[in-house]
Amino acid sequence: MEKRTVQSVTNPGLPGHQVQLGADQPLRLDCGVELSDFTVAYQTYGTLNADKSNAIMICHALTGDQFVAEPHPLTGKDGWWDLMVGPGKTLDTNRYFIICSNILGGCMGTIGPKEINPATGKPWNLDFPVITMADIVRAQAMLLDHLGIDKLFAVIGGSIGGMQVLEWASMYPERLFAAVPIATAAHHSAQNIAFHEVGRQAIIADPDWQGGDYLSQGVRPHRGLAVARMTAHITYLSEQALAEKFGRQLQDRDAITYGFDADFQVESYLRHQGSTFVDRFDANSYLYITRATDYFDLAGKHGGVLANAFKDTPVRFCVISFTSDWLYPTQESREIVHALNAVAANVSFAEIVSDKGHDSFLLDEPEFNRVLGGFLKGAAEHGGLSW
């Protein structure tokens, strides 16, 4: 396959790898559109061993990206899984070759609504085809082909990254040895679709969204995107975490002001989360990726029976949930486990006690690290991987 970078065209100055995929064999999306010659941006950490058996694909969450374990080029903050990935860490880069690509529809170098449509010379905007979790995973599999890796040692991801893990195991069971879906579900619930819809409507209601054409107009729907982020951010935490962190404490003042300023610390915190988010994320990308998540229903694709998605699976699974996660509660992980049991799959399942809500998988949770590390070590022993 011909490799050519398009840094000079679409993503000037973006560090890391970029590759053009689909020039020979286009990616046929679930919606019927074919994507050919599209960019995927990705990062790798560690070294691929001689027999190419130590590769782990990390699937990032809704607003994550490929900068897993290094300072982010836009924000300068640590990589989103810096606690987990690195030399000597649970995902030990001295042992594993870690791959993470920006998902299809994303806005950190991989093709998405803000990239230029070659047919028009303008950003795709809403002409970008609506994508699905399966499409995202198909693009990742094409990246794997490009890297010359037949089989991954593991695919790991939290939240909608976990949905990608489930799609991987379902679509390409022969291409991964182990699958670790974390804090996720086999379908997006009505409540979660509802929260996403609030976020999307906030973006669409912002006059600066301009029917999706804000890039050409030189504006950004910052207010709408910030509100979307604020709403979503609440779902990533837990009531207990909010109570402990903020309670009803006031922000830099001794008394309430009888106005609509951010009197409370929690308001100030959310406004900060919203305002920093818009600097690094594209509003249309947010629409497309939340939609892909809403559409995700693995059982629906398999005659309404989730177990059918994993029939005769050779994959070794480790399902992990967190007690205080109300976005993807443990019960939804348990449904995955029951489906895997129904096909007598090799599955481990641990519910980690944490009061930090859905975001627990991104935070310093020693028990989570111990369980994940132990699972990978056991899988490595069974998979004949040694160092």
Binding site: N341, V343, F349, E351, R370, K377, G378
Partner: protein
């Protein structure tokens, strides 16, 4: 993972169970605790082992040790498995804690070609004597719970269990009772000696 010396030191009752399992088979250990039996079976009998455990401490320890164990409850989580998914299904020291032991027993023999059940024998002479002399529910090192906080809600005797198997048309392939001194013996047809002197019992069952 455990080291060799720890592995050899599995409890006597677990060793009795391990001795009934053929090498290289598919095994499900229900109520697998910290995974010591599964670990032993994986290493010494090369089984394809899985476990179910209720306590998150036990589950986390097992998964962290590389064992395939899920957090779950035998009363509710067995119905998902397909028929004959395993060669052996083990329920050790757990039957008496089940909400519906008979249903669980049916499930074990549905999902496993064989089932291995171990339980404390409530007809052991010490329990009989304790009850006779003290007039109170027996509490000892094996059964350390008071009646009001015990997880063991369905105690039975060796005789009770054999009668239940007969009622359910379950074939007992092998059975052993474990005495206080750690020795074990085959349970004879009369049941009398085993039911009086056996502190624990292990049964290998087949449909």
């Amino acid at each position: 993972m455990m080291n060799e010396s720890q592995r050899k030191a599995i409890r006597v009752d677990l060793q009795l169970i391990a001795d009934m399992i053929d090498p290289g088979t598919r095994v499900l250990d229900i109520g697998c605790g910290d995974g010591s039996l599964l670990d032993y079976l994986s290493n010494f009998k090369q089984v394809d082992g899985r476990g179910i455990e209720l306590s998150s401490e036990g589950v986390n320890a097992c998964v962290a040790a590389g064992l395939s164990v899920i957090q779950g409850d035998a009363d509710t989580d067995l119905k998902d498995y397909p028929d004959n998914a395993f060669d052996f299904v083990i329920l050790s020291q757990t039957l008496q804690a089940m909400y519906a032991p008979k249903v669980v027993l049916e499930q074990l023999l549905r999902i496993g070609r064989r089932a291995i059940i171990s339980f404390p024998n409530f007809a052991h002479w010490r329990y009989r004597l304790y009850l006779l002399l003290n007039g109170r529910m027996p509490v000892n090192e094996h059964l350390p719970f008071e009646w009001y906080d015990t997880p063991n809600i369905h105690f039975c005797t060796i005789k009770d269990f054999v009668i239940l198997c007969r009622e359910m048309d379950i074939h007992i392939e092998r059975s052993r009772s474990l005495n206080h001194d750690g020795t074990s013996r085959r349970i004879s047809a009369s049941l009398f000696a085993a039911n009086l002197f056996g502190e624990q019992a292990v049964f290998l069952l087949k449909k």
